[in-house]
Amino acid sequence: MTLLEIMNLSKSFKQKQAVNSVNLYLEKGEIVGLLGPNGAGKSTTISMISSLIAPDVGDVRLNNESILKTPQTLRKILGVVPQDIAVYMDLSARENLLFFGKMHRIPKNILQKRVDEVLEIIGLKEREKDLVKTFSGGMKRRLNIGVALIHEPEIIIMDEPTVGIDPQSRNYILETVKRLNKEKQMTVLYTSHYMEEVEFLCDRIYIMDHGEIIASGTKEDIKNILSAETAINIKVEIVKHAFTEALRHHKNIKNISIQQSVITVIVPRQVHLLKDILRIAEEQKTNVLSVHIETPTLEDVFLHLTGRQLRD
């Protein structure tokens, strides 16, 4: 059952078209990923979905009813985790949750219990009375999520909620999102720079670039975009410009990307290119340390579709 539907949403700022005819939907109880490099239009889309800015064109529909004129309906059941840590640093974790709980008009007798529950969920019960400014980055991020959960929303939009935190806190957050989805049937729209997070969490994925949705579907659907292709990872001692250029100009190499000392090339599955790669390496005096052939990942698909790394 479609809970939230975004139809033909567009927004421009002055001369720049930030979002162009975006369509997406969220089914009740699913986790949907929204991927895109910086400046792709993800945050503007999220702001329009969450009713903070009005679209130029298009509609946002909750249970098949437009909420553009009455955003209050959506806001009641929506929790938003902004990319920035939007909590009061000079208040304690409990004070922050109490404040936002009161903003959501949660009755006093319920609020204390609800705050305790959220503190348990985000694992900050022991530090509830400490001022947020004394927290680590990961703890602040957890509280950032906690504030969005205080009114038990049905839908939660998370805009890169794990940016800049340690792996332990990141895992905690991912597990929490998964648990909320499973136990409370919470519908999640999740944006991230980390492909593995999206792979771990999401049932369906939208890929966005230059303000448009360029691909969508389940993880498998997306990966199938590159089903006819193979990714070859070549680890070299030193990445030489002449070597990468020679690979780039090879007629069967569709795409090339470089990460530290690993060069990834996308080639048609039926073509056996290993011999050619080793020959070019020898010609360009490049010392190949290892070659690994694998089926494409979401990262490879993203690269294929946008020509950019996700973190570019």
């Binding site: 009005a54 955003p71 209050q72 938003v80 939007a86 000079d90 009161k102």
Partner: protein, 417 residues
């Protein structure tokens, strides 16, 4: 919900010691420094200015008096007239009266010091503000002028070092008044009127005392001046906190909780009002306890404080509205580092700008800071609320104008739906 909004703002300020120091300690330190340093200048203390006058008497007054008396005795007048004229001459010694009676009177002693010489040469090397030369024959001419209608008018010569100086003016005024006194006496004599009766005329009707208002000490002036200036810093601080909430997306979160914008801004207004009221109360209490600046009417003081707090609250709301509309942190900096000092200067927080007169006086009196300062000082001097109504009205009008501008600004460019 509104109370939660206010409570949050108060907590945020309470937990930032730097802001508290700026808002409470700094004005108090400035009151102490300015009150002590500029106390002597503004305390209405008397400035001692004593003019030094050398009186060179070339005339033989005693001898002249005897000669005139002898002349009266030998005249053909009737005995009764002769006796009256002799009595008059014996009672009048113009040079002696000027030097010893007028010059040494307790009132004039503070401003005039007279040294008597017999020869002008003795004065030449000395530093005097003025020299009065009484020539030979002065006393004789004086008596003749008094007794005869068409006699030559006696003349003395006054020379001052610098005619425009305060000391020279003092000397000139004293001598002019002294001469006028003799002219009145002479006129009365000619008209055969009893001059002493004129001078001692009884006053008819009721004597009404004009109530002397309390003098404003330097501590009182700067106590009020700094309070009025620093109350605007409450406004900019609150506006700064409010904009930080927009920058860091807490404002968006509040709106996403279906809280109307008006509640957020009312929270800003109320928090600024409470903080301004607390700041003013604390500062005035400290100034009263430590420097004895006590307002005679607590009710009137409270009334002005409430009005000024409303003004500070609207100023905070307006600053916040402008910052939100322009989406710029610079707004708070411009207000706190430029507009508030200008308002404080025009209002007279640093010195009494109205003393400049003209446009500055009017501007100072009706600028928000100036109106607040005048209202407080008048209350301090014991004026009633009716007497300060024009200042209170100016403050309230300014507040209403700022509120209207805030509403228009937010309606036009609120930033968020």
């Amino acid at each position: 919900m509104l109370w939660q909004m206010i409570k949050k703002e108060l907590l945020l300020i309470w937990r930032r010691p730097r802001e508290l120091i700026v808002l409470l300690l700094m004005p108090f330190v400035l009151i102490t420094i300015l009150g002590s340093a500029l106390g002597a200048l503004n305390n209405n203390e008397e400035v001692e200015v004593t003019a030094k006058l050398a009186v060179v008497v070339e005339d033989e007054a005693g001898q002249a008096q005897q000669q005139v008396i002898e002349k009266i005795r030998q005249s053909n007048a009737v005995e009764q007239k002769k006796a009256a004229n002799i009595a008059l001459i014996e009672s009048l010694e113009p040079i002696n009266i000027f030097i010893n009676v007028v010059g040494k009177s307790p009132e004039l002693k503070k401003v005039l010091s007279i040294t008597e010489y017999r020869d002008i040469k003795e004065v030449k090397e000395k530093d005097y503000d003025g020299v009065l030369l009484i020539p030979e024959g002065f006393t004789t001419k004086f008596y003749n002028n008094l007794l005869e209608k068409n006699a030559t008018i006696p003349a003395w010569v006054l020379k001052t070092k610098d005619e425009q100086s305060l000391r020279a003016t003092i000397i000139q005024d004293i001598i002019t008044n002294y001469q006028k006194e003799w002219v009145y006496q002479k006129t009365a004599q000619d008209l055969q009127i009893d001059y002493s009766a004129l001078v001692n005329t009884n006053t008819y009707g009721q004597i009404e005392n004009i109530e002397k208002k309390k003098e404003i000490s330097a501590f009182a002036y700067y106590g009020v001046g700094m309070c009025v200036m620093f109350v605007f810093y409450i406004s900019t601080t609150v506006a700064g906190f409010a904009f930080q909430q927009k920058e860091e997306f807490m404002y968006e979160r509040i709106l996403l909780a279906n809280v109307p914008k008006i509640i957020f801004f009312t929270g800003i207004f109320m928090a600024a009002f409470i903080l301004s009221f607390l700041q003013l109360t604390i500062l005035f209490s400290l100034t009263a306890l430590i420097y004895g600046v006590v307002f005679p009417s607590i009710i009137n003081h409270l009334f002005v404080t409430l009005t000024v707090s409303i003004m500070a609250a609207t100023f905070a709301t307006f600053t916040t509205a402008i910052a939100f509309a322009t989406n710029s942190r610079n707004v708070e900096s411009i207000f706190s580092s430029l507009i508030v000092p200008i308002l404080a200067f025009i209002g007279g927080s640093f010195f009494n700008v109205s003393a400049i007169g003209g446009f500055m006086e009017t501007l100072g009196e009706y600028s928000p800071g100036g109106a607040a300062l005048t209202a407080y000082l008048k209350v301090y001097q014991g004026y009633s609320l009716g007497d300060i109504w024009s200042q209170l009205r100016a403050i309230l009008l300014f507040s209403v104008l700022l509120l209207l501008l805030s509403v228009v600004t937010l309606k036009k460019r609120g930033g968020i739906r």
